[in-house]
């Protein structure tokens, strides 16, 4: 199942809720302000790193760039993808949960 999270974890707790409900069949894509959840050395990065043990985490590159960020600010092993990659994730996963 693909989960998309579009809120900064410093604004809403949707990423935290999402991380609580995922399992090994889940993938998470951070979009819009959700990309802030991929940053290293924040109050949520430990829980994101912990989730990476079971779950692949992606971040939408154009949204990262629009916020003046790049791969160097991210937790390691988070994959940066474009909209084409977003489309492919929705195809690979039969079910999609969009956390708003």
């Amino acid at each position: 199942m693909l989960h998309t999270v579009n809120k900064s974890p410093f604004e809403k707790n949707s990423l935290e809720t999402c991380l609580r409900l995922i399992d090994e069949s889940s993938s998470i894509l951070l979009i819009e302000d959700g990309v802030y959840g991929a940053l290293k050395n924040t109050s949520v990065s430990d829980s994101v790193i912990n989730a990476q043990k079971t779950t692949k985490i992606y971040v939408l590159g154009p949204d990262l760039k629009a916020r003046g960020l790049d791969k160097s600010s991210l937790i390691s092993n988070i994959e940066v993808i474009d909209y084409k990659g977003f489309v492919n994730l929705t195809i690979e996963n039969e079910k999609i949960q969009n956390w708003l």
Binding site: N6, I31, E32, D33, P62, D63, D82, Y83, K84, F86, V87, N88, T90, I91, I96, N98, L100
Partner: protein
């Protein structure tokens, strides 16, 4: 693959409509088809033809109209959400005795059943909102 898209936020206020548009465009470029985009809540404001954004800014309603014309996408505004927000097509203008309509090309107004149908008919339904 056949996609349905739900947009719950208005243009320029939130990134939802931009994300939905860029997703739709990428899906089409990858050879997929968008069956319908359903605009719900403040999302109905994406369907106005009276918007005039600055020339160096993207024209969100026109962008949807053009994409729909080119790729036969059904753009549907929720009727109850549209009535509350003054989004009017020629039929609604007559029905509610208004003096004008304001719906952009390729958009139409219909009921929530169209969202359910999009969920049933398509293989994936993606939601963009706030």
């Amino acid at each position: 693959m056949l996609f349905g898209i739900l947009v719950n936020e208005g243009p320029y206020q939130h990134q939802a409509s931009d994300s939905a548009y860029l997703f739709a465009k990428a899906a089409i470029e990858e050879g997929h088809k968008i069956f319908r985009v359903f605009f719900y809540h403040d999302g109905v404001n994406n369907g106005t033809r009276l918007a005039t954004p600055p020339q160096d800014d993207r024209h969100i309603p026109n962008r949807w109209s053009e994409l729909a014309a080119e790729h036969e996408i059904d753009l549907v505004l929720c009727v109850a959400a549209a009535q509350r927000r003054g989004m009017v097509d020629p039929d609604e203008m007559k029905r509610n005795k208004k003096d004008a309509d304001n719906i952009a090309e390729k958009f139409r107004i219909s009921g929530l059943g169209q969202l359910i149908e999009a969920g049933v008919q398509t293989e994936r339904l993606i939601t963009f909102g706030d």
